[in-house]
Symmetry: C2
Subunit: 218 residues, 2 copies
Amino acid sequence: MELSVAEENYIKAIYSLSQSGKVSTNDLAQAMQTKASSATDMLKRLGEKALVNYVKYQGVSLSDAGNRVALKTIRKHRLWEVFLVNKLQFGWDEVHEIAEELEHVRSAKLTEKLAEFLGDPRFDPHGDPIPNSAGELPKHSVKTLGECKTGEQLILQRVNDGNPEFLQYLERIALHLGEKLKIKSQYTFDNSVEIERQDGSVLMLSETVTNNLYVIEQ
Amino acid sequence: MELSVAEENYIKAIYSLSQSGKVSTNDLAQAMQTKASSATDMLKRLGEKALVNYVKYQGVSLSDAGNRVALKTIRKHRLWEVFLVNKLQFGWDEVHEIAEELEHVRSAKLTEKLAEFLGDPRFDPHGDPIPNSAGELPKHSVKTLGECKTGEQLILQRVNDGNPEFLQYLERIALHLGEKLKIKSQYTFDNSVEIERQDGSVLMLSETVTNNLYVIEQ
DNA sequence: AATTATTTTTAGATTTGCCTAAAAATATAT
DNA sequence: ATATATTTTTAGGCAAATCTAAAAATAATT
């Protein structure tokens, strides 16, 4: 089936929102920066194409076919991000927008040749997992630094890539994926956290920051 | 100005058709595989945007702005073809369709970084010249093998990339860009040509073939 | 020059994806 | 439980890009 760019984008949004249960029309409209009535229109169409399970007033979820579309699109998006950063030397804060366009290029052969060219990467430049050609996602952290306890020794595995300014901030303080961290102290009045880095230096991170850094145990 | 994919494609078609004078609505419609009425609609819109000089019933030509759009799009198309062939190991007969999609990705920074990554190539895999970032085209051959005389010593510089089967045929007989050729004989009854190759072997080419091979003098 | 043929444009529909405004359904609060 | 607020859907429109069929303009022919 030949999907439009708009259809693919809605499916991606539903995929991402449905990590936390069924998706409401309003939430979807907000994620798509559009009006609820537009979302309703699209849900009807996606329902007719059997890409979503949609019942009026009951919210929506992806069908198996819809899920495959979502994962295929996410795979392409993240592979292109790897290309842009690793091969074209873009900064990790610059690639999201461009990948949003590249992900809609249709050729499946292109996707697979690109993956091979990049060495079949399993994670994108922000640490987000790249589905393989069968649509399987590598395991990845869902635990934020904000959820951890004082004394824990951690590795930064993934960062939220939703905000370029946040990524620029991380670049500024040279906080990179794979870095080992230890929580020195936590301040309950504002949930800020003091961490010790590999080189022994110490860093103070706000709650907003720690909620957008995903870690694994060292 | 933010142009749609359709607008960019019409502009490319007008550019390519206007190599041989002013472009008629019918020719444009045929090139775009659409109806004359659709072409008329688009010409009005492009006229309003000052990308073409369009007067009812008088045909159309590109304005300076339209010309810049055409060259920019051609630059992107041909750079992506180089990427697909040189980096992803696609065959030269497989890349046109994919590049038709990639050429519409908007980021100018992407184009320039891609060009740099590829070593600022001046010609695409079919020998077509790639406009530089200022929109200047490298010199390229406009003389077909079919126009040459017996005894001439030539170099194959460019091939018509319009037909994948033609490209596959050239691959089959291993006729590659840069190869030195000598015309041994020409047959006037069907305009076929016998050429001698570098390795001394001899090849018989039909008129259709020689009209789609562009050469320079050796 | 008048007729015929061809090309081009206009008029009116269709589809996709969006909008606003109003109506209907569901959720919340008193 | 009734009233109020919120969410969701419907109804009706708009713009882009296409189509068919008919009208208008231009070109070709006798």
